[in-house]
């Protein structure tokens, strides 16, 4: 049974189609949902939670129908919205404890799990202070804590690094990764930065203009779309011819060669070619895939 499934999910606003007949089927894991701003990431998450009604289509979360079984499924789901959602004049402890009880935990269990969860996200003494005095990073931690406090089966995180400085971003990504991999909680995390998703997720879903561009394990992604940059001392034409003859897709870019990177045999071919042609290898590196590249060439290089 897939953790998340949608069939023809569509959301139309007057003049705008936010989601366009989206079919998804995802197994539990840490899933990255990537797309530019306005691609429909938040809309998808809100529909899955029942915060928005789809214009057409159906979906299931954890095997529950999102339209008919909303209250049941939401007991097992945690949600961290993109925007601010914390009452300024409550302490983190009081608020997270309150949300734990709202999520169905009895009082004692709520208190215990609140303490544990706030410790996990790295809030210690400051958890007794009012939230309005918190930094953005601390607020993001409280938002994560309230999504985790009731031990959900699945967490939906909408742009969890929003508004954080680079250090805070790293810490948040680390928290998300640990929550997913060490706690075994399935995570769907949206971001417009592919780099973030690469660091944390094991599965990638790319949407653009409300349509599914691609969905697959992250390894498959980089394998299919990765590019190896090779720069040699002197004329690279012989190497180019040799690699092409070996069946690789190679392009020239200035003094360098760009080679479509399918699997590790590419390294071997380059090594053998350079050695046998007796060339000086200046640089060999795997190009970091940019989000825009995926959108430009969805089928790979």
């Amino acid at each position: 049974m897939p953790m998340l499934e949608t069939r023809g999910l569509t959301k139309r606003y007057p003049g705008v189609t936010a989601l366009d007949s989206l079919d998804l089927s995802l197994e539990p894991g840490i899933i990255g949902l990537v797309g530019a701003n306005g691609a429909g990431k938040s809309t998808l998450i809100k529909i899955l939670l029942g915060l928005l009604e789809p214009t057409e289509g159906t979906g299931t979360l954890l095997g529950f129908d999102i339209a008919a079984q909303g209250p049941e499924v939401r007991q097992y789901v945690g949600y961290m919205p993109e925007h601010d959602c914390l009452p300024p004049d409550m302490s983190a402890t009081d608020f997270v404890g309150h949300m734990a009880r709202i999520s169905g935990l009895p009082r004692t269990a709520a208190r215990e799990r609140t303490a544990e969860t706030l410790r996990h996200v790295g809030l210690f003494e400051e958890r007794y202070r009012e939230i309005k005095g918190y930094s953005t990073g601390m607020k993001q931690r409280v938002k994560l804590a309230q999504a985790l406090v009731h031990d959900p089966r699945l967490m939906l995180l909408d742009e969890p690094t929003n508004g954080l400085d680079p250090a805070g971003r790293d810490e948040m990504l680390d928290l998300v990764r640990r929550t997913g991999s060490e706690f075994g909680i399935a995570i769907l995390m949206s971001s417009h930065l592919l780099g973030e998703i690469e660091r944390v997720c094991d599965h990638l879903v790319v949407i653009e203009g409300g349509r599914l561009v691609r969905s697959g394990p992250i390894g498959e992604f980089t394998a299919r779309t990765g590019t190896l940059l090779v720069e040699i001392d002197g004329d690279h034409a012989p190497l180019l011819a040799r690699l092409k003859a070996a069946g690789l897709r190679v392009a020239e870019e200035g003094r360098a060669l760009l080679i479509a990177f399918d699997d590790d045999r590419v390294y071997d071919l380059v090594r053998d070619g350079v050695a046998e042609l007796d060339l000086g290898l200046v640089r060999i590196e795997q190009r970091r895939q940019q989000l825009e590249d995926i959108f430009r060439e969805p089928a790979g290089v």
């Binding site: 029942g50 009895p106 060490e182």
Partner: protein, 301 residues
């Protein structure tokens, strides 16, 4: 290095424990939100400044009853200053100020800080949220209505020097006291939340609630004076205070006084049957609850 890690790990990270206990679901969520809102109505769990207005008004509403109690202590003869049926007329503005101050706290804060999104992504339905909030404000108002009535009952009983005898002779007062009190609280709470839930701005919400009671009271008075009894009497049905007075008298089965100095003189002049005010109250309730329902079905979260 691994030793250090495990050492600090022992201190801070007790490992993640899954929650295997019960999940109490939707009804528990509603009750939790209700109790949380009831506490919030009096500023409990909030900074001290949040307690000043609700507690101050609750004390003001108790003063007439306390005076009666004090008179009972010094004068053994019955000196009847305040009757059960007329009590609400003395404190109607205090009740209005209370709902104007508290309703925006209960429904505006969650819109302002966008915590509404978190509630709606739990087991709660939107209508559950509205029910919990109206119920919480209604219950909070008991402190301003039923509590003083109880003190008043005690005061009158002490004045007789025979508590048991007074209770035996007058227990029939209790059903109308409770019935009119509950209806009044529900009526005032529904009007206030119907108005306050329309905006996240506290000042607008408070102003709106007070404006309704003040303007409708003034208009009813002016129309009654200018149009005279037969036509102008219907104008009293615009005014929340007059409706409350009307159904309270109906419940106590007391006719309005023909004395010009009496607080019920408006009702006497209008000459409407008192059951008309009851029907009006029910219509107001239906309309207000409908407005609240629509507001929360439509509000974006």
């Amino acid at each position: 290095m691994s030793e250090r890690q495990s050492a600090s790990g022992n201190i801070y990270d007790l490992g993640y424990r899954r929650y295997e206990g019960v999940r109490l679901g939707r009804r528990h969520a509603v009750v939790t939100l209700y109790l949380h809102s009831l506490r919030a109505a009096f500023g409990l769990g909030r900074p001290a400044t949040a307690k000043i207005v609700p507690f101050g008004l609750a004390i003001l509403a108790l003063i007439p009853a306390t005076i009666q109690l004090g008179i009972a202590a010094v004068a053994s003869d019955i000196v009847e200053l305040y009757s059960h049926s007329g009590y609400y007329s003395y404190v109607q503005w205090i009740i209005a100020l209370f709902v104007a101050a508290v309703a925006p706290e209960l429904v505006g804060r969650d819109q302002r800080s966008r915590t509404l999104t978190l509630y709606f992504s739990r087991s709660l339905l939107r209508v559950d949220y509205a029910i919990a909030k109206v119920a919480a404000l209604t219950t909070a108002l008991f402190v301003l209505t039923l509590l003083p009535q109880f003190v008043l009952f005690l005061g009158r009983a002490f004045a007789q020097d025979d508590l048991v005898g007074y209770a035996r002779d007058n227990w029939r007062d209790l059903p109308p006291i409770i019935a009119s009190g509950v209806l009044l609280c529900f009526f005032m709470a529904s009007i206030a939340i119907a108005i306050a839930s329309q905006t996240k701005r506290r000042a607008f919400a408070t102003g709106g609630v007070l404006a309704y009671f003040a303007i409708s009271l003034a208009m009813a008075g002016i129309l009654l004076a200018t149009l005279g009894g037969d036509t102008g009497g219907w104008a009293l049905l615009l005014s929340g205070f007059h409706i409350a007075q009307g159904f309270t008298l109906w419940i106590f089965n007391i006719e309005p006084s023909s004395s010009e100095t009496s607080s019920t003189y408006d009702l006497y002049q209008a000459g409407l049957s008192l059951w008309v005010y009851c029907v009006a109250a029910l219509v107001y309730l239906a309309v207000c609850l409908g407005i609240i329902y629509r507001r929360y079905q439509g509000i974006s979260a």
